[in-house]
Symmetry: C2
Subunit: 239 residues, 2 copies
């Protein structure tokens, strides 16, 4: 048997027909108390004029995480907050151009961070998620979603809901300082339920994720609430 070095020298990777690999980014936020995602109107075939997740092909020497960060930077023009690999979608016919396997990443961002990037071709669309599909609305109009991106969005929202109580995800959806009521509003928007106030406060404070800052919110009528911040947790979150 030849050595590994000999083997690698003679190995020809062009023997197999290969799929393209892309990353698609589900950028979730809370807008007016509702879950929303960044969608971009396609300006080219295929799926011209339909609304799609920002995405891009993975470079041949680029890690998947790096590709996701690059798409966040270049396409969404945003810097990174919480970004996590979600799921890989690989149905053979999901893109009419050629075989494209898409590694979906989901990211969380406070809505305020989006403003400079918004335009008629780049919207934060309100989501209605049910039964494995998602619908997207802007004002009163429903957007037509390209490819299988509706299912991808629904998967992201399911993951977000599932992790909300175990990982301090809401940190990525709020400003650095926030009140417990704002935190509860984020949870209620994501879960689409009403939560019990004393129980929510007890639970959050018991987790050890939060630290009081001693400061209070400003500019409110009536009693201002204390501002909290998330403490950087040292435990590695597993998948």
């Amino acid at each position: 048997m030849p050595s590994e070095a000999d083997f690698l020298k003679s190995y020809d990777p062009s023997n197999f027909e290969r799929p393209s690999v892309s990353v698609d980014l589900i950028l979730l936020s809370i807008v007016e108390g509702k879950l929303a995602a960044l969608l971009m109107r396609r300006d080219a075939h295929p799926a011209l004029d339909l609304w799609a997740l920002p995405g891009g092909f993975v470079g041949i020497a680029e890690s998947l995480d790096d590709a996701a960060a690059r798409v966040l930077r270049e396409k969404a023009r945003l810097d990174s907050t919480f970004v996590e690999q979600l799921y890989t979608f690989g149905a053979p016919d999901r893109d009419p151009r050629t075989r494209v396997i898409s590694v979906a990443y989901f990211a969380l961002l406070p809505a305020a961070r989006f403003d400079p990037a918004l335009s008629p071709y780049r919207v934060l669309a309100r989501l209605e998620v049910s039964q494995g599909t998602a619908a997207a609305h802007v004002h009163e109009g429903q957007l037509s979603i390209a490819f299988d991106h509706s299912a991808i969005i629904a998967t992201a929202v399911a993951r977000l809901r599932g992790k909300l109580d175990y990982v301090p995800l809401a940190a990525a959806l709020l400003a650095p300082r926030f009140t417990l009521r704002q935190l509860q509003d984020v949870h209620e928007a994501i879960l689409e339920t009403r939560l019990n106030k004393p129980a929510f406060r007890r639970r959050m404070l018991d987790k050890g994720w939060l630290a009081p800052t001693g400061e209070r919110e400003a500019g409110t009528s009536y009693r201002p609430a204390e501002l909290y911040r998330f403490v950087s947790s040292t435990d590695a979150s597993n998948i």
Copy 2:
């Protein structure tokens, strides 16, 4: 602007250098009260003689799920039970041959189903998982694990532990009829903890996953336990 049909006709997918895409299968089981995974000794470069997960390249017209099922059938020579996509590993240098992005799937199987497939080159190795890496042992010897498969196994075990209480995964690790003690043994092996018997029984029965069969185990000394079966749950498990 040309029509979508014209666009697709003129689209040349060979413009980009593409990675290879493979699936790797983490086949988990319980052997003698311990978590174990199927590993195969590599009979070719690279990583010759090291132990690797069964895997294979994804066909150009084959879905990822189909590729995983094919690998389970051809490489592991087993038919499908519980199979679920786990995570996609795409570090640029994870395979010395060429860029290989691997979509990892994990599957569960009762240990009894493995016997015909075992050989010196195909073992159910006992796992020791800690801190994002897994070590594999057979008898007293530790196996050297190829590529990044140690991290992949650790990710699978973390997912298994996380889902155990929410999804009736243990069904895939037991015979069709089983006692509550056997079910508890499976949970204890996976979680590597001791569980409280009355609480475990209450919890399992309250979930509605189980149905008593009215039959009892045979061939035991002393009182035989009732046999249960899993009822097919109709709710779709989300990711």
